[in-house]
């Protein structure tokens, strides 16, 4: 298995709280990996550490063989923050073209990214005038525009209508088929079934790292919701 992301004994404190305490995981290249866990479990912090914007206490994060956040990675990584981080006073097209230009890519590439998130019709609109779901898709367009080798997406499908959510997942699957490593965080369990692998994280600790089928089998449950509940209970008993 070719490794894209390797996290080793990662310790992160935010304020006085230890968010990740000796977290380790390995994410294979060219896959869609789902990062699942309740709010406050450390998903965003882990993603921030992987893209290299999080101050870490100790431990290591390696992406494509380079330390997280190092210069060669900045052309190879795409990051979607949880709150849409695009310029509200620019249009969708202007935002996407600006991010394209940071990778020295042409305007046509930006238009493709806009089409991929289904915003072609709204390309000329100011982000401030868009709905919440459209805004987060505009933000997504800026994350995929650089055709990154590693795509880190923090809750990309929140607030999207089911048809669009389905299309977005198809898009992530296509990207992975082309060799992109996609790490997606989510709350929604039916989305988890579309991942190649799942990382279940709770209170900063990894409690499952397997395929969706493997997770269900290990927990002896038919659906992922039940499976996760079982695993959490088991962990609580063990502790």
């Amino acid at each position: 298995m070719d490794t894209a992301i390797e996290v080793t004994d990662l310790v992160v404190k935010r304020g006085k709280r230890v968010v990740l305490d000796g977290f380790s995981c390995v994410i294979p290249r060219g896959s869609v990996t789902g990062l699942l866990g309740p709010s406050g479990s450390g998903k965003t912090t882990l993603m921030r550490a992987i893209v290299g914007v999080q101050v870490v206490e100790s431990g290591g994060v390696t992406v494509l063989g380079h330390p997280a956040g190092s210069t060669p990675l900045r052309r190879k990584i795409g990051y979607l923050t949880q709150a849409p981080s695009v310029y509200a006073d620019l249009t969708v097209r202007e935002n996407t073209r600006y991010f394209a230009s940071l990778y020295r890519l042409k305007a046509a590439v930006a238009d493709e990214a806009i089409a991929a998130v289904g915003l072609t019709g709204a390309a000329g609109q100011l982000v401030a005038d868009l709905s919440g779901g459209q805004r987060s898709r505009a933000s997504l367009a800026c994350a995929i525009v650089g055709r990154p080798e590693v795509l880190v997406l923090d809750e990309p499908t929140v607030g999207q209508d089911p048809v669009l959510r389905d299309e977005l997942w198809d898009h992530f699957r296509r990207l992975a088929a082309d060799g992109t490593t996609v790490l997606v965080s989510s709350h929604v369990m039916d989305e988890a079934n579309r991942c190649d692998r799942l990382l279940l994280i709770r209170e900063g600790a990894l409690i499952a790292d397997d395929t969706p089928a493997g997770v269900k089998h290990a927990a002896g449950a038919d659906d992922l919701d039940q499976a996760f509940l079982q695993l959490i209970k088991r962990q609580a008993v063990a502790a």
């Binding site: 101050v55 956040g69 990051y79 981080s85 800026c142």
Partner: protein, 242 residues
Amino acid sequence: MILSSTIKRILTQLRHDPRTIALIIVVPTLLITLIYFMYDEQPAVFDRIALTMLGVFPFIVMFLITSIAMLRERTTGTLERLFTTPVGKLDLLFGYGVAFGLAAAAQATVAAGFAYWVLDMTTAGSLSLVILIAVANAVLGVALGLLCSAFARTEFQAVQFMPLVVAPQLLLCGLFVPRAAMAGWLQAISDVLPMSYSVEALTEVGANAEPTGIMWRDLAVVVGAVVVALTLGAATLRRRTP
């Protein structure tokens, strides 16, 4: 390439905000007109105050605009995202410096042109030097705005930095009390405030037909202050945050 597209991005943001453009361009001109009518009978006093204000207004406006714009980059997450891309800190700092510097040049040109041709302001030296010093002052405002945005968490706090940074410089720059007439300790403070130098430079242009050595030295001090503020500003831009 990244720098030029960043400049373009910032100017495009400004372009989508016509009200701000109008405020940038019109407000200094309106205020100078107000000063003109206040000193209706004293053209020499008007010349002195208007000349000083041509340096002060761009500083204030650009300080405010930049500190809010940079704070927005920090609070909306765009800064965090930019730091995962090939953008360098200098691309951002110079992006803001150049983009708002251009806006300041437009502002200073309109205000100075209006003061000269409509309000009959007179200076011994040339208009282009007045604009040059005004733009240097505006860029100083940009640089200090970038720096101060690091110490504000909200836009509320950011605007509170304005009186803190601007008022002492305005009070001690020699406009209200000549610097030579100030108590020693006030003079010492005035000596380390960059606006004292830009106002002195403007006064030199007002009094001398040719650019003087003092004017060039003062301009160099202002540019030096810009470099210091930008360097400190760069230090506050961290790729990694807690």
